[in-house]
Each structure stands twice: as C-alpha cells, then as structure tokens.
Symmetry: C2
Subunit: 362 residues, 2 copies
C-alpha cells in the first residue's frame, strides 16, 4: 500500500532503476526516446512520487529552507515569510517553519532541527538581543549556527548578526538601516513642530529597538532638540498599549499647566504604535489633536488604520527574499543584492495642527 518506488516503476518499464531515475529526474541526456516514454508511462500508471527523503539522503541536500520567526501571526514576520516563500519557489525549494517567541534557546533548537533535516539554508528573522539573560543562549545559538555553516549550511540573518557568531562562510546578514531611518524620521518630524518627544521602545538589549531609539535620538540632537524620554515596554501591541496608558496620564496631568506643548510619540514599531494610539483613544485623547504618534515598519494590514500612521516604510517582503537568496549563494549577478533601504512616510497621525488653526495663526 505504500507509495510505489522507483524500482517498481523500473521493473514495470522493463529497465533498470538507474535508467528510470535518469528519466524521471534530469541528470545527463536520456534520448532513449522510446525508453523514456515507457518509463514515464509506467510512473504515471503507478502514480509514482519520488521519495524526497531518499533523494536527499543520496544527494545530501534536501531542497529545504528553514525559516525562524518569533511569531508567524505577527504581520511583520508574515510579510517576511512571504518574501522567503517567494525566493523558495524560485529556487524550487520548500520552506520549513519554526516559531520561537524570540527565545535564543528555542532558536538554537530550531537550528538544530533544521540541521537535522539537512536544510540547504536557514533564514533567521526577528531581532537579536544582547541582554545578559540571553547571553548563554546566544552563545549556544552562535555555536549551533557555526557548526551548521561548517557542515556546508547557509545562513541568512535579518537585521543584526547573531551575537558572537563568527563570520563563517555561508553566513550572511541582510542589514536594515534602522538607525539611519529612525534618525531621518526624527529629523523630518522635528522640522515641522515644536513638541516634546517621547520614545516607546522595546526592552533594553533588543537590537532593532535600540537602533531605532538611538537613531531617533540622534536625529533629534542634530535638530538641536533635547533627547527624548524613553519608555521601555514589550515589543508588542500590548506593550504599546501599556505605554500609551502611561502617556495619557502624563498628558492629562500636564494639560492644566502649559497646554501648548503637544507630545510626539515615536513607537519603535507599528504594532506598538497602534497599541499606544488605542490607549490614548481609550482615555479620550485624540490623534493628532492631543498627541502625535509615529511608528516603524509600515505594516500593510495597518495602513487602513485612522488616523493614518506616520511611519518608516520597510520592504519586508524584499528583505525576506534577499535573506533567502543570499543564503542560496550568489546567483546570477554575483554583485549581490542592492542594500535594503526604507522611506519615511508622514501621514495624518503626526500632522502638526488642524488646517483651521494653521490658517488662523498665519
């Protein structure tokens, strides 16, 4: 009852397994026109499906590309996954998924599992961390990756490289200019307003978050503004919401004093920004009237959110694609892919004032 094998096909076609193999997959020429047809028919009638495990064993390569994300339901990762999937299709490979919640030790496990399956390459998305508590985990992860690379595996990491990972062969990093873009966002934001800036960031040690915070502060500084307060919270919508609640209180408290200075809140990613905005709204505050809010990533699903969220567009899908194909080795153009760039997008959530007031002042 088990699926029919190549040998059976060969027997039915009256040829040797080797010949059948040559016909059903493409190695050298197989102009045995007549033979080829017989084999094909035999395969067809038997409903033959090659056993990829066996093929993999024989060729020691699996046609698999492993993808590691924090959470596939997070639109950020989902977008990247789509890019990886695209690249996989081009390479005629399949993608193997692992979600890790960002824990280095379960990332290590995932890498080991991928290695066990002899994945041709591994893509790691999700920000790296440098927290003390993750130090051990990071080291082990780096070791695991190193071993994987040494055994011929290819790795594509998105954002920062793994802490402590040697620049081994087959180890690629798709850099995302988080810091520069955040600085640019701050600059553009600062150019048209005179407000107090606040940053809602992720836990300290999260590279992506830290980079964006640093960049934003730098942008502020170069605009001659003081550094913004930083609220540390979870790198999620819930975290953003929590911070938003605190900020709402702060706004309410300061209103009687000097109502002139509106708050401009920069959340280090869109999901957090949405959370913060929701919190403000739940407290009766309105955006951008009572506070401005900006995010980062330009998540597609969030584009219909109102007021439209100012953010930094990142080509997530392209990032995923690059990570997956850089790991596949320099293909046609060995010049490598173009560096990732983003783009500041100012929308309604950070509008400076209602047209009416602008007009009246002017």
């Amino acid at each position: 009852m088990a699926a029919s094998t190549l040998t059976e096909v060969a027997r039915l076609a009256g040829v040797s397994p080797a010949t059948a193999s040559r016909v059903l997959n493409g190695s050298a020429r197989i102009p045995g026109k007549d033979i080829a047809e017989r084999v094909r028919q035999a395969a067809e009638s038997l409903g033959y499906i090659p056993n990829a495990q066996a093929q993999g064993l024989a060729k020691s390569s699996s046609g698999l590309i492993g993808l590691i994300v924090h959470d596939i339901a997070d639109p950020y990762f989902a977008a990247i996954a789509r890019g990886v999937q695209d690249a996989a299709r081009e390479q005629h490979k399949m993608v193997l998924l692992a979600t890790t919640e960002g824990a280095p030790d379960s990332e290590k496990e995932a890498v080991a599992a991928f290695a066990a399956r002899r994945a041709d390459s591994i893509v790691i998305a999700g920000s790296r961390t440098s927290r003390a508590e993750d130090l051990g985990g990071n080291t082990e992860l780096a070791a695991e990756l190193d071993r994987y690379c040494r055994n011929g595996g290819h790795v594509g990491v998105i954002g920062h490289g793994i802490v402590g990972a040697a620049a081994a062969d087959g180890y690629h990093v798709v850099r995302v200019p988080n810091e520069e873009l955040a600085a640019q966002l701050a600059t553009e934001l600062a150019a048209s307003r005179e407000e107090d800036f606040v940053i809602v960031g992720g836990p300290e040690g999260l590279f992506t978050s830290d980079d964006r915070i640093r960049g934003f502060q730098r942008g502020l500084a170069s605009a001659g503004l003081p550094a913004a307060d930083v609220i540390r919270t979870h790198f999620t919508r819930a975290g953003g919401f929590e911070a938003g609640l605190a900020l709402a209180a702060r706004i309410a408290a300061s209103q009687p004093g000097t109502e002139a200075k509106r708050l401009c809140i920069f959340a280090v990613n869109d999901v957090m920004a949405i959370g913060a905005a929701a919190a403000l709204r739940s407290q009766g505050l309105r955006i951008p009237r009572d506070a401005a809010v900006a995010g980062f990533d330009d998540i597609e699903t969030l584009r219909d959110f109102r007021p439209a969220l100012s953010t930094v567009h990142l080509p997530l899908e392209e990032i995923g694609r690059q990570a997956a194909s850089s790991a596949a080795g320099p293909s046609a153009d060995d010049a490598g892919s173009p560096p990732i760039t983003g783009q500041v997008i100012l929308r309604r959530s950070t509008e400076v004032a209602h047209p009416s007031s602008t007009e009246s002042v002017a």
Copy 2:
C-alpha cells in the same frame, strides 16, 4: 567536513552503531548505564546531529506536517498557521509551508511535494471553489489527495471538503459554520434597524463566500426582509475597496431622494470590509453615520480599526490546531475535538444611530 554520523559516534564510543542508535533515540531499554554515558559523551563531543532524512527513510515517516495556504501574509491564514504550528510543536513535528494563491493546480503540486517528502499529514486552509474553470484542477487535486491518503497520509481540510474527494480514511474536515453564523449576524443586524442591506461577496463558486452570503440572506429572510443585493468582487481588500467605491456612488446618488434609508454593508470577510470602509471614507462618507459595515472573521490585527468593525469571531488559531491534530489521528480523547463555533460581535461600525438622534426621535 560533513556532519558526523551515528557510525562515527559509535566508533568513538567503542560500540556498535546499533547500540549508539538505541542510546541516542529511545527504542527498547538501554540500561547499559556506563555504555549509554559513553555514547552520549561521544555524541556530544562530536556535535552529532541525527540525520532526519535517514531516520525518515528507515522509519518511513518524516515528522513533517504540510500546510497549504493562499497567502501566508494574509492575517487570516497567518492566524491559522499559528494554530497549526502550535499543534505541530505538541506533536514534535515541524511545519512545511506552501502558498498557492488558491489555485487548485498549484495546490495539487503542493500536495505532491508534501507526499514526496512523506509528510505525516497535510492541512489545507483556504476556501474551496466550485467554479467551472477550477473543475479539472479540483479533480486532480482530489485524486492526488486520495492517493496520499491511501498511502497512509492524513489530511485536514478547513471549511469545506475538497470537491470530489472521497471520504477516504485519514481525510478530515474541520467544519466552520459559516452559513449559520452569517444568518445569525443578519438576524442581529436586522433586529435593530430598518435599512437596505447589501452584500459584498467574493467570486461566485467560492464556498466560504457563498456560504456566508447564503446564510446572511437566510437571516434576512427569516426577519421578513427582502434579499440583499450582492456585489461580486475579489475576496481581498482590493475587491472590498472596489465594491466600496461603487457603493459610495450609489449612496451619493440616492441621498437626494430618500435620505432615510441608510445602507448596511456586509462584506464576507474582514479584510474586504476594511477595504470597503476605506473606499467609503475616501469618498467623504462616514461610518456608521452614512453607512453601516460588517465583516467576518474578527481578524486580530484589525481590531484597532476605527470605527470598530462588527463581525463574526472565528477561533482561527483553534481551527488550525484542530485541523493539524485531527489529521494526527484521534489522540487522547477519541471523542474528537469539539465542533468549531463562532460568535457575532456587534461593534461601532454598525451602530444604528447617534445617541442624539435616537433620543430626539423617541
């Protein structure tokens, strides 16, 4: 340089490969306390990682569970994927991903690919279709699935069964009561208003869409209301947007006449509803003032959308989990999982009238 093998470990430990195998995996007893330890150390020092391909070949099972979705970046599928992933983790398996854009022939390919990899089970999400143009594809898909099942594979389909698929062993369907829930939504909506209803549906033949349309109409009928107009469009945000544009025109045109009857728009999924809402807004219309809008699915990422979208909550993650574990065979409780249920959630997007007007009329 290739990864070290079990044989090498065995040699280093001074035992036979068989013994090493018994130690490193759990088959029978391995009380060779001293031996076991030696083997483990050898494995450790060599950085031994079992070759899953070889294991799979030997045991003819792969620890893989295949997942087929239209688009992993669609939050609907992403949520299901998370559930599948959870189930996979519990089963100590990994998830293989395939995206097909809903095309039956590429779904067939995906099934074949999964079969080739000897996936232990396959989960198919994404609505089935009965369009004439897909007939051939569906038949082939059904045949492929049938063969897969006959070879011992397990299949879990979400929503409707594959058209033409025999109720083979190992073929499970996680039913989603789309029709009932849509009817319920219509009933609740109809109870508190006197409006013209319009349905924004997907292309004809899409089961999920058709079920929801049918159910909604039924609900309307049982409330003594006439059937709603149905606008057919793409099952995506873009489709919803397009329909929304048309509806905006319709609203604008009818306003001079009888301004009493507001439109209540039911889009067969949340993403389309959001698209429609965006279109209305782009034409200067406001929700729920100028029109009510409802969706279906209760996508998590969309919950912060304003006005809050009335919809039908579906336990997407649980659905994915069930599909993945039903396919794993009746586990602990052979009573099977509880049937999927949803819940109508009325939010602001379908509010009947502003408190003020309600008051003044009363």
